[in-house]
Symmetry: C2
Subunit: 429 residues, 2 copies
Amino acid sequence: MSMRPLTLGVAGLGTVGAGVLKLLADNADVVAARAGRPVAVVAVSARDRARDRGVNTAGLRWYDDPVALAGDAGVDVVVECIGGSEGPAKALVEAALRAGKPVVTANKALLAVHGAAMAELAGSTPLAFEAAVAGGIPAIKALREGLAANNLSRVAGILNGTCNYILTTMREQGREFADVLAEAQKLGYAEADPSFDIDGVDAAHKLAILAALAFGRPVDFTSVHVEGIREVSALDFQMAEDLGYRIKLLGIAQRTEAGISTRVHPCMVPQAAPIARVDGVFNAVVAEGDFVGRVVLQGRGAGAGPTASAVVADVIDIARGRFTPVWGSAAGALAAVPSVPMSAHTGCYYLRLMVVDRPGVIADVTGVLRDNSISLESMLQRGRAPGEAVPVVLTTHECQEAAMRAAITRIEDLAAVMEKPVLIRIEPA
Amino acid sequence: MSMRPLTLGVAGLGTVGAGVLKLLADNADVVAARAGRPVAVVAVSARDRARDRGVNTAGLRWYDDPVALAGDAGVDVVVECIGGSEGPAKALVEAALRAGKPVVTANKALLAVHGAAMAELAGSTPLAFEAAVAGGIPAIKALREGLAANNLSRVAGILNGTCNYILTTMREQGREFADVLAEAQKLGYAEADPSFDIDGVDAAHKLAILAALAFGRPVDFTSVHVEGIREVSALDFQMAEDLGYRIKLLGIAQRTEAGISTRVHPCMVPQAAPIARVDGVFNAVVAEGDFVGRVVLQGRGAGAGPTASAVVADVIDIARGRFTPVWGSAAGALAAVPSVPMSAHTGCYYLRLMVVDRPGVIADVTGVLRDNSISLESMLQRGRAPGEAVPVVLTTHECQEAAMRAAITRIEDLAAVMEKPVLIRIEPA
């Protein structure tokens, strides 16, 4: 192989950036064979030159300012591993694309928030982001190329490994959320400030990207309905088990007659569903197409190795000249499908109340549901403690989110209802 | 979109070819958006012009001889849906590639048997075959592009829907092989001559293709060890359940120190393994890479819709100019890794014997195993019937296939062993 190497400038040498350098060093041969030419990192940018990252940066050009990487005439492709929707990551990607330089990024926030503008800026310059969603799983490639012949009706996924780890541990060990979160932080599975993960924002970024690809429309992060996992309790896991469900934080994008609905929230999923069995830090993406049927992809959603695998796959595509428009179709061919608000959602619900155990309480609660045209599927009171608070779980047949919201507002006001009701949506397999 | 359409000639209008025509008619808009230009079938070839295939062939140029399609100057891309490793399918693909015309094929036999010669003939002309393995699952794309940055250590899969349907039904309904096969034939899930599927040949074709892609080496069908599912009985499913396993026909390609082993045979897999839960006509592919870890893909492995989805995805790649060498790397960059014979395999075994229930029989059997250095993990006799045949099941610790074969030959010769022993290899999750 005598071709000139494809040269990379890597900005950000945290977990992802260092992982990319390590992969390119360890797997140089296989990467060169698949890329059709050698791939060489020639320049890097990071804040601290002195820090030991376990990778060799000797001989590489060093830039304190990441944006300067884009101007390095010896850099063919810019690899952005800084992260964040604003600041230096955005400035670097913009500078590179303006210079007509291909960009590979792992930055879901940037794509979710500024993806439409970035696609416009990119035009026919590659802007690749396989690592932005579901880590090492080639989910972007599957949606944008592998299933490209289909009209997709639904894409759903376990898109945040931190949440899935916490929920899996809560279920397996019968422990409460706060307790498991604290342990996950100690183990490095959750950040010191975990809200980005556990409040569902990270999953929502990824879902916004998947939805745009699946439905061939401009990315629309602001329309994603987002709920996190803080309110799920050990008791809900016991109830889920009894009812034949597992609790997962899912991101779901669905085509309905009215438009596209996108939502991230805890779900009860049937124990037999493939996604119910995806545990720990694993991610999964389920896509449903009119010709292909259901396709399920699972694998590691984060970490240095899986993310580097996805980043370098994008680099290989660029080396081979394999080009796909950012959102799968040219901007002009994107569909102007409206987003549907969460209030228009219809589905089945799990509702857990803590109520005073006394006659008439259930009649009051079920009366409110009836007044809102919500039909009950099951009701279960756990334990007896006259005059004290006991859990009551109700599951409903399909109803409107707006009706359920109205009902909950009234149920919360009932004197016998002691805590904020817990609502978990039941999703079909 | 004012570009000239990409024109297709489709040879073979059976399930797959008719499915391709239907998809291109139904999903013309989404295909054009993803392809960047319209895609139009302009010519077809099939034996019987009069047959109603449920698709509109009016206005298409009709060729009785499929090879003539390749010579049609108005055909940009040849889509081969005839099937078979020899005859018209091979002649057509060769003619098209010689004419420098891109080919999309669903033909696993052709790729498995003649893949090396076809790749040489293709050179820089696209020869795409996503539909050849695992139907609608974008497995080829995942291995060849999505996971391209990895050294893979193992690829395994449920690659034949007919076998998986039969095995699933046997387990769920406690029925015997012959009975379920007959029903599957009636339902159209199995061919009148089912040997291609149930003897593992179809899975072996697909495995040979996956192994070549995974390990970046020339395809080598003749080295695949092949066993089918005829000898698995309802009793084995009961025993598997008790032992915590499911029985699946797997194709497994593995990198060992000595080279690449490729094998298709029934396996006991732990019930908790993702692949154990892939039931019915579904397929699955599991890949393990040094950076990405384990990735699992599942979906429909056959049928008009999923196969057409894969064929048209390849057409879209060609329309976009996305090119990948047939085996993922240029011929010169393929590794010359030797194939390892089955006799060198090491693993754990499930061995079921029908033996006369009398003192000393187990001692004889276990003595033979000891003489071949095979260490037992468990032994279980089902039921008691002095003087009559009863099933005895043994599971072993890891041992050499050659030793196990030698032991079985001696065990078969024991007077108390009434039937041919059933051997099922135990695979780790």
